[in-house]
Amino acid sequence: MNVTSLLLVLVSIALLGYFGGYRKARALSSSAKTHSRPQYHGYLVALWALLPALAVLMAWTMSQEAIITRLVMSELPATAQHQSAAERSLFINQFKNLAQAKKSAVDESGVSLPNEEDDPLTNQAANRYLHWQERSQVARTLAVITLAALAIWLTLRRLRASFQARNRVEKIIQFIMMLSASIAILTTVGIVFSVLFEALQFFRHVPITEFLFGTHWNPQTAIRADQVGGSGSFGAIPLFTGTLLISLIALSVAVPLGLFSAIYLAEYASPRVRAIAKPVMEMLAGIPTVVYGFFAALTVAPLIRQTAESLGLSASSESTLAAGLVMGIMIIPFVSSLSDDVISAVPQILRDGSYAMGATKSETIKQVIIPAALPGIVGGVLLAASRAIGETMIVVMAAGLAANLTANPLDSVTTVTTQIVTLLTGDQEFDSPKTLAAFALGLGLFVVTLGLNIISLYVVRKYREQYE
């Protein structure tokens, strides 16, 4: 039985459990007053029927693929065993594809396909694979259904009039809620482990000092061991400087525009203008980044190149400036929204105090409001910076792939995120330094943005406390 139908069966079993519990509690309540209303007894039985069975189903489904693959490989004759890791994974892919093809052929026409040019070993493996898969599915179905039935029987036996079914149900629900909330922690742990683990493997191939301080980036690795010059170089400095350059351009667009917009909307604009302009500006943050990337690559970059050429400057067609400018516009709302919030949160009596001294509006803003709101504004800028550093699509589409070490915004540079995408979207093997390098870059990206986030959240929170 496949997962979907098994789930349906489980739900029906749980429903049966519910009615079983409900009826037993109703019967109990005719002789004595029950602690909980009958439906809670029902819920409890249903939950016990469902949860352990679900857990087993999940664990089984997640692990069966790996276990079956190992089983199949161990059954094969010795000739298939001493392959290199790459050949092994290729072979596994082949027999799985074949198995898939066989299965769908069976599903559709009811006749099994004649094997064409597949070699017998692959064919054998595919057959074994299908065989084990079938076994596993049957066993899984049996295990899950038995477990659910057993749980119903055990729970039903425990029901008494004094049984605190409601409290138990609520305990279980609270536990599920706690688990849901803990997914946030699991995600962080998952990120840290996945990136860290692969990055450490990478540093076994490439020394960390070369990665951090090397100035040459050319991640070509040997396809064959005897290839010339195939070792590749993984000095990430050009990526860091490229990321920095683009982020700086973006911030030098976003910070003044965002800050002045926030000031204008919070202090000058009439309520009507504000009611229109604010959501329109926030639309900038809602447009998918791939759209900005398209615009940067196909509209802004050619424009910049033409302008530069008409001024007698040479500009690359994949210009840093185009990516930076467009990214800057994209992160304006991050600066302006948060700045607007903190500027509006500055108490009115401070403004009144300044006006009463004979200050003009701009003097009040510059000398009283901005200094008072500064921590919040800094928080917003840091958040925008972290956004700029982690932004992927705009740079992938509009910045180049050439790892130049340059500060010229008309040249093309590449960034950390661009390289991660490039390294991981081509043909890949999981263990080559080229693939692992992407995770090392990801680790760097995560650490830097995490640091910026923590600082900015801290700064903003301190600011909030000041005025609460």
Binding site: M62, A66, R166, I173, Q174, M178, S180, A181, S182, I183, A184, I185, T187, G190, I191, S194, V195, F197, E198, P256, L257, G258, L259, F260, S261, Y264, E267, M281, L284, G286, P288, V290, V291, Y292, G293, F294, F295, A297, S336, G358, T360, K361, S362, L383, S386, R387, I389, E391, T392, M393, V396, T417, I420, V421, L424, T425, L445, T449, L450, N453
Partner: protein, 425 residues
């Protein structure tokens, strides 16, 4: 009044500075809005033509002999017959001036390669057509289409045009015979990706996006709501675990999306063996990405439910869980749904993490389940944006228009719900 005079003296300068400052603010807002408008305008201008498609009418003589069919062809024969030859014959008959090999190839390329399949499907559906001469409307090749939309300047020197003079002459002839027409481009919505621009459509990518969203919604919504409810209603104060959860939620909301892609690649695909390129993998990654948004907005909505309601219910003997699910949740549901829609809109536009989990492959089929290889709408945009053909630029922009319309509709729905169900306690 020495004092007042002194102040009066500097006033002009100070007021000028005030005006300048105000102007900077107005300029900043205007630049931002202007940019938004030029972005939308540019994409609209580039994308609108893609919703129209040129078709060519050819009178095809369905000659069984040229098709290489015997007297009683079966399904397989009909399926494998050479329909391309009939189309080439027709065109050669109409334009006998095509002499060189290059010109003959150009002639065949007036209509899309899909023409042969259309013809085949028509014949299989109605074998009686064999032997007759019938008019058929075929998709025009992308170059013809782009020219018909006025996006190729025929006054340019021939060497700088994608369409040569002799092709122009053919097109003019077809036009004068009424054999060219422009109609709504249904292909764009019914086809999936294709190497040929005129056959490429967004159906596959769109379905992929919807399947991905389905996975995301069905995971992120319940988990997000339960987590928010726990943190607001049940979590013990000053508990280290709870503090850790809160810090993590706030930080995850700002982690770059590509890092989630790395997580998905290493954990979901590498460790749990979720199929690569499948909406399931994409949906799982996007779930983790949207969870913080949903949790944060849901918490705000739950917080807005006044305590008096909780106390009233508790005083009637309801348990904490009953209060949470029976009173707090229904009252905060509009706010939670609003937050969920906003989170889903974010997820719908997300591209980078999907690239890493392999949803960038060329997929010409419509995915049927969350396990099939698939792309998503934003990824399709990314893929098409890389193609140099003019017709693909058009289609990229059109796909962006579709995506933006969807996002706008979602956001409008969120705004509407917030307005409609806004509780004034």
């Amino acid at each position: 009044m020495n004092h007042t005079e002194k102040i009066q003296h500097s006033l002009k300068k100070r007021h000028a500075r005030e005006k300048r400052f105000r102007l900077y603010g107005l300029l900043s807002v205007s630049i931002s809005i202007l940019f938004l408008l030029s972005l939308l305008g540019d994409i609209g201008f580039k994308g609108m033509p893609a919703f129209w498609q040129t078709k060519v009418k050819l009178d095809i003589h369905l000659d069984p002999e040229r098709l290489g069919l015997g007297p009683n062809p079966d399904q397989d024969d009909l399926f494998q017959a050479n329909y391309q030859r009939l189309i080439a014959d027709t065109l050669t008959r109409m334009f006998p001036d095509a002499k060189t090999r290059q010109q003959r190839r150009a002639l065949k390329n007036l209509v899309s390669k899909s023409a042969a399949y259309e013809l085949r499907d028509a014949v299989i559906a109605n074998p009686q057509l064999l032997g007759q001469t019938r008019p058929f409307w075929f998709l025009a090749k992308d170059d013809v289409d782009v020219y018909m939309k006025g996006r190729i300047d025929r006054n340019l020197p021939e060497s700088q045009r994608r369409i040569k003079d002799y092709q122009l002459a053919w097109i003019d002839t077809l036009k004068s015979q009424g054999r060219l027409k422009q109609g709504f481009n249904t292909t764009f919505f019914t086809n999936s990706d294709s190497r040929e621009p005129e056959q490429a459509g967004i159906r596959g990518a769109f379905t992929g996006s919807m399947l991905t969203m389905l996975v995301t919604l069905s995971l992120a919504f319940p988990i997000g709501v339960l987590a928010a409810l726990y943190l607001e209603e049940f979590a013990p104060q000053n508990n280290r675990w709870v503090d850790l959860i809160e810090i993590n939620i706030n930080n995850l909301a700002a982690v770059p999306s590509i890092v989630f892609g790395l997580l998905g690649l290493a954990v979901f695909i590498g460790f749990f063996g979720v199929p690569r390129s499948a909406p399931l993998a994409g949906g799982l990654v996007l779930t983790l990405m949207t969870l913080p948004t949903i949790i944060i907005t849901s918490r705000a909505a739950i917080k807005a439910v006044p305590n008096s309601i909780r106390e009233a219910a508790l005083a009637l003997g309801a348990s904490k869980t009953q209060v949470a699910f029976g009173h707090v949740l229904p009252l905060s549901l509009p706010g939670i749904l609003t937050g969920t829609i906003i989170g889903m809109a974010q997820a719908l536009g997300e591209t980078a993490p999907l690239l890493l989990i392999g949803m960038v492959a060329f997929v010409a089929d419509v995915p049927h389940s969350i396990f099939d290889p698939s792309t998503a709408l934003p990824v399709q945009i990314y893929l098409w944006a890389d193609s140099p053909e003019r017709a693909f630029v058009e289609r990229t922009s059109a796909a962006i228009i579709v995506l933006l319309l969807f996002l706008m509709a979602m956001n409008a729905l969120a705004v509407f719900m917030r307005k409609k169900f806004e509780n004034k306690w």
